[in-house]
């Protein structure tokens, strides 16, 4: 009987330790974060996520793409017009500042609301 109680108690301790260990496991990737400082940089391989206001038509997509294309660090451009979300893939070992992204968006005729850096693989 005491042997059975010992086994059950042992299994319980192992289970609690395992759950505790899993709970405390740190995330493998840091979450995306917002850039609030104009000089703050986003570095490849992270992606830049831009929330833009005023993109009302497909022509607007062309306008903003042309301005973002002038930034050397930008390799790929993807736009969701309905949400005003622009996702930029950066070239290897390159970086771009929030300030530069804001200039491109304003030059295109729109308003930059927020910018996030999204680590690769997220």
């Amino acid at each position: 009987m005491s042997s059975l109680i010992f086994k059950v108690a042992f299994m319980f301790v192992v289970m609690v330790a395992t759950v505790q260990q899993l709970w405390a496991q740190p995330a493998t990737q840091p979450a995306r974060f917002e850039l609030t400082d104009a000089k703050q940089l986003i570095e490849a391989p992270s992606k830049a996520i831009l929330a833009v206001k005023g993109l009302s038509c497909p022509q607007c997509a062309g306008n903003i793409e042309r301005q973002l294309d002038r930034i050397k660090a930008v390799q790929e451009f993807k736009l969701d017009l309905d949400d005003g979300i622009v996702t930029l893939t950066l070239r290897d070992k390159s970086s771009v500042s929030r300030d530069r992204l804001a200039k491109a968006v304003e030059d295109a005729g729109y308003t930059l609301d927020k910018v996030w850096a999204q680590p690769a693989g997220e």
């Binding site: 833009v52 206001k53 005023g54 497909p58 022509q59 062309g62 306008n63 301005q67």
Partner: protein, 292 residues
């Protein structure tokens, strides 16, 4: 081409575009839009305009203008663009008492102007309100045809200025614009038998435009949206300071992609009070805009 023929062509074009999907600037009205810095926009419109044979000048005739308008715009700074427009026109006058046509062909007065958009409120991802101002001058190099008596020029440098507001909310867009053109031209054209177009008499010209643009397709944009189709309804009024005025209703369709736009519209008069020139009977326009 007869009016029936034009009507058939208009319907075919409209059907073609309704099968695809389009912009915020309607075919016959201005909008508070302009190319961004370093970007060119070429706009070409082919317009057929027929003038009423029972005009107040009491000439039994049928006048049709076939006009190709070319406009080049360039964004030279943030919220600034410079624009140049040059139409050329072929005019056919069918006099009731003659068996021959009276044709003339030539350049119409060009225009050059600046556009400045100082006011912009972007409310949400799609919603926006913008206001732009224009100021420029028409260039009196339009040709006069001695043989036909047609004039394509006001024969003066005529300054003009205007304001336009654009408001877009979801699938709906509204443009309201006003423009005033001072006419410094001489009095030679007043009451001239072949004075047909607005602004060709020695009077200042006021244009008041209202347009409603509705996005037919897609209902919502997605990451895969590359174009859109818009239905446009415009009210275009032309008022001359001699109190001649015309009000047009202009339904149309547009297809807009990221680098080009196709547009078509039919203009029909709903109100006319004309004494010194021919009345406009109808007008049909097809155009294309390209950005690079």
């Amino acid at each position: 081409m007869s009016m029936k023929g034009i009507g058939i062509v208009s319907c075919v074009v409209a059907m073609l575009f309704s099968s695809v999907a389009l912009a915020q600037e309607a075919p016959n009205s201005d909008a508070a839009t302009l190319p961004s810095p370093g970007v060119f926009m070429l706009r070409q419109q082919f317009r057929v305009t027929n003038y009423d044979s029972s005009d107040p000048l009491n000439h039994q005739r049928d006048i049709t203008d076939y006009t190709l308008m070319t406009r080049l715009s360039y964004g030279f700074a943030r919220d600034w663009s410079i624009n140049f427009e040059q139409p050329i026109t072929f005019r056919r006058i069918d006099e009731a008492r003659s068996t021959d046509y009276n044709d003339s062909f030539g350049a119409v007065d060009g225009k050059i102007w600046l556009k400045w958009r100082p006011l912009k409120w972007d409310h949400a991802a799609i919603d926006t309100t913008r206001v732009a101002f224009t100021a420029g001058v028409s260039l009196p190099w339009g040709e006069d045809s001695e043989r036909s008596g047609s004039s394509f020029s006001s024969n003066s440098f005529d300054p003009f200025f205007g304001v336009v507001m654009t408001h877009i909310r979801g699938r709906h867009g509204v443009n309201l614009g006003a423009r005033y053109r001072v006419n410094f031209g001489d009095d030679d054209l007043k009451g001239h038998p072949h004075t047909v177009g607005p602004g060709m008499t020695k009077h200042d010209l006021v244009n008041l435009d209202a347009s409603y643009v509705y996005r037919l397709w897609p209902q919502s944009f997605t990451a895969d949206s590359h174009g859109a189709v818009y239905w446009t309804t415009e009210l275009n009024s032309v008022i001359e300071t001699n109190s001649d005025h015309e009000l047009f209703l202009s339904p149309g369709l547009m297809y807009e992609a990221s680098s080009f736009t196709l547009e078509t519209s039919l203009q029909v008069p709903v109100w006319q009070e004309i004494e010194e020139r021919s009345k406009t009977d109808w007008s049909w326009v097809f155009g294309v805009r390209v950005q690079w």
